[in-house]
């Protein structure tokens, strides 16, 4: 993963780009390697989750009697778990739940957070302060613990996980959007919109907000791996996805008691899956930054 910062400003460069309006983008922009690799991994997972169970011929909950805790072999490429279920099929299937949880929570958080941030940047100061105060309270809790408490209070399920993780992620979007809106507001084009007599809501939504979206997209790319980690962590503790559904964190938990007796595969493969997915997201994020930087 690329460690150097690529700082991306939101306003267009200040130099004029030539006197004629006929300037076109003549060079085809190259797609960065990181984007390709990251994208391929994601694509691979999509294919895996759809086709592997079909190809193997078993599903995630299927218990084959007499096949408990079998080491990886030709029959069971990833081995079986304590209930005799195929670890490969379960790992492949679990992708669906984790990706749904990740996308669901992050996108909800982004939508709600951006709207809240736009609101905060547009309303009178006292309302802004109250809103930010509430968000500060949410951010005061360590994320895992807050998500844990919420999941426990509402009853652990995929829906609750999405909700709990979204709540944890919302404050950053709201803060970033608010800051961006406040900074865009002072720019002449925002004033021009006001001078034109546009309704303030229109100004914010149509003029200001789109210029803040780049930061939001970057944040989304950063939050997707975080969401997966929290979901897996919560499921590991027993407060996320419930058995018998296949989920990586849950599978790691199910296999944890057998580590000390040497049955490593139940825990190993789901964790490896998480690792590959998180790396894919990181690569995508770096790739997106590079790609839009080139434009």
């Amino acid at each position: 993963m690329n460690v150097e910062t690529t700082e991306k400003t939101q306003s267009p460069p200040l130099q004029s780009t030539g006197a004629t309006p006929a300037a076109t983008k003549s060079k085809r922009t190259k797609i960065p390697v990181s984007l390709l690799i990251g994208g391929s991994i994601m694509l691979a997972w999509l294919l895996i989750t759809i086709f592997v169970p079909l190809l193997i011929g078993r599903n995630a909950e299927e218990v084959t009697y007499g096949s408990k805790l079998l080491a990886p072999s030709a029959d069971y490429i990833f081995g079986t778990d304590a209930l005799g279920r195929d670890v490969l099929v379960r790992t492949a299937t679990a992708f669906r739940y984790d990706i749904v949880i990740a996308l669901g929570s992050v996108i909800s958080a982004a939508l709600i957070g951006v709207l809240l941030g736009a609101l905060a940047g547009s309303v009178p100061e006292w309302l802004d302060n109250i809103e930010m105060g509430v968000l500060d309270v949410i951010s005061a809790f360590p994320s895992v613990i807050l998500a844990l408490a919420m999941a426990a209070a509402l009853g652990a399920s995929i829906g609750t996980l999405i909700f709990a993780i979204a709540v944890v992620l919302i404050p950053q979007y709201a803060r970033a959007t608010r800051a961006a809106i406040l900074s865009e507001r002072s720019k002449p084009y925002a004033e021009a919109a006001r001078a034109m007599g546009l309704h303030p809501a229109r100004t914010v939504l149509i003029h200001l907000l789109p210029n803040t979206l780049f930061g939001t997209l970057t944040q989304i790319a950063l939050d997707l791996p975080t969401a997966i980690m929290i979901a897996a962590g919560l499921s590991f503790l027993g407060f996320g996805v419930q058995p018998p559904t296949a989920e990586w964190g849950l599978m790691i938990n199910e296999g944890s008691s057998y580590i000390v007796s040497g049955q490593w595969w139940v825990t190993f493969f789901p964790g490896l899956a998480i690792l590959t997915l998180v790396i894919a997201f990181s690569l995508l994020e770096v790739g997106i930054k590079r790609f839009s930087g080139r434009q």
Binding site: S11, P13, T17, P21, P188, Y189, H199
Partner: protein
């Protein structure tokens, strides 16, 4: 010097009634500090003036003289701390909400920085048709015609509409801003240092355009600038501001030949092209 109808350019109809008037305007800003320890900045101190229809009124002064703030007050982009603003004899000082928005189509502004005055993600077409659609209710072929008309008026090819602001130079962007401002068919145009961010050669083009447009559309200008040479080319009367106060109002000719106020004199003397302006004035009179 008192402001009378005779001091205005002759030949303008209704020269007697001001289009926009400021009476004893004050604008105070609270700057810095927490918990009420901040100090006030009085940007505009008891300014009174009147701008008559069809004229180009210049507001000159150094940075910080309050001229920009005054311009913004006239536009009601800011609300005065005290005093009155009258537009067409109506008190607009405390207008709000939809009434204020209605006023907007009468008074428009062109900003100083053409690079930031256009929304980076909107095409020229989108930027200019927005007011056309929303406030003049145009659509379809009528919209296209008017859009083309506006672009032509400011000297831009009609094909520019599909492009984004970043594809244009500073001078071109300023033309686009003009087109956008004119889309609402305003009577009064406030121009806040419209040429200060542009190259000298481009400045001349824009100034000529402004003068042409004023003639064609019978616009009234409030032209804010610290550049006296530019003001001399466009304006009929000038108001000189310093530290928030309006020191004097005089005609352009008076200002160049014999300003009453000592500060005005120093301003005028500081301009190297004053000498060039005299022949210009004479050429205009002969024209």
């Amino acid at each position: 010097m008192t402001i009378t109808a005779e001091s205005v350019k002759p030949g303008i109809p209704e020269a007697g009634k001001p289009l926009i008037e400021a009476r004893d305007l004050v604008k105070r800003f609270r700057a810095g500090g927490s918990f009420g320890h901040g100090h006030d900045v009085i940007a505009v101190k008891n300014v009174s003036l009147a701008v008559y229809p069809g004229e180009a009124f210049g507001l000159v002064g150094e940075s910080g003289s309050g001229k920009t703030t005054l311009g913004r007050l006239l536009l009601r982009l800011e609300e005065p701390t005290s005093g009155q603003i009258l537009y067409d004899d109506k008190d607009i000082t405390h207008l709000r909400g939809s009434e204020l928005r209605q006023l907007r189509s009468a008074i428009q502004i062109v900003f100083q920085d053409p690079y930031q005055a256009l929304n980076p993600w909107m095409t020229i077409r989108q930027a200019i048709s927005e007011p056309l659609k929303l406030f003049r209710g145009l659509k379809g072929a009528e919209l296209d015609r008017e859009l083309a008309n506006l672009l032509e008026m400011v000297g831009l090819p009609v094909s520019s509409q599909k492009r984004l602001p970043r594809e244009f130079s500073g001078g071109q962007r300023q033309r686009i801003c003009l087109a956008r401002a004119l889309a609402l068919k305003p009577s009064l145009l406030v121009l806040d240092e419209p040429t200060s961010a542009l190259d000298v050669s481009v400045q001349a083009q824009i100034i000529n355009l402004l003068r042409e447009l004023q003639r064609e559309l019978n616009l009234t200008y409030v032209f804010i600038s610290h550049d006296l040479a530019v003001v001399g080319q466009v304006c009929d009367r000038v108001g000189i501001m310093r530290y928030g106060e309006l020191l004097e109002i005089t005609t352009r000719d008076q200002f160049i030949t014999n300003p009453a106020n000592a500060y005005s004199r120093t301003l005028r003397d500081a301009v190297p092209e004053v000498g060039k302006l005299l022949p210009l004035m004479q050429a205009q009179e002969e024209a």
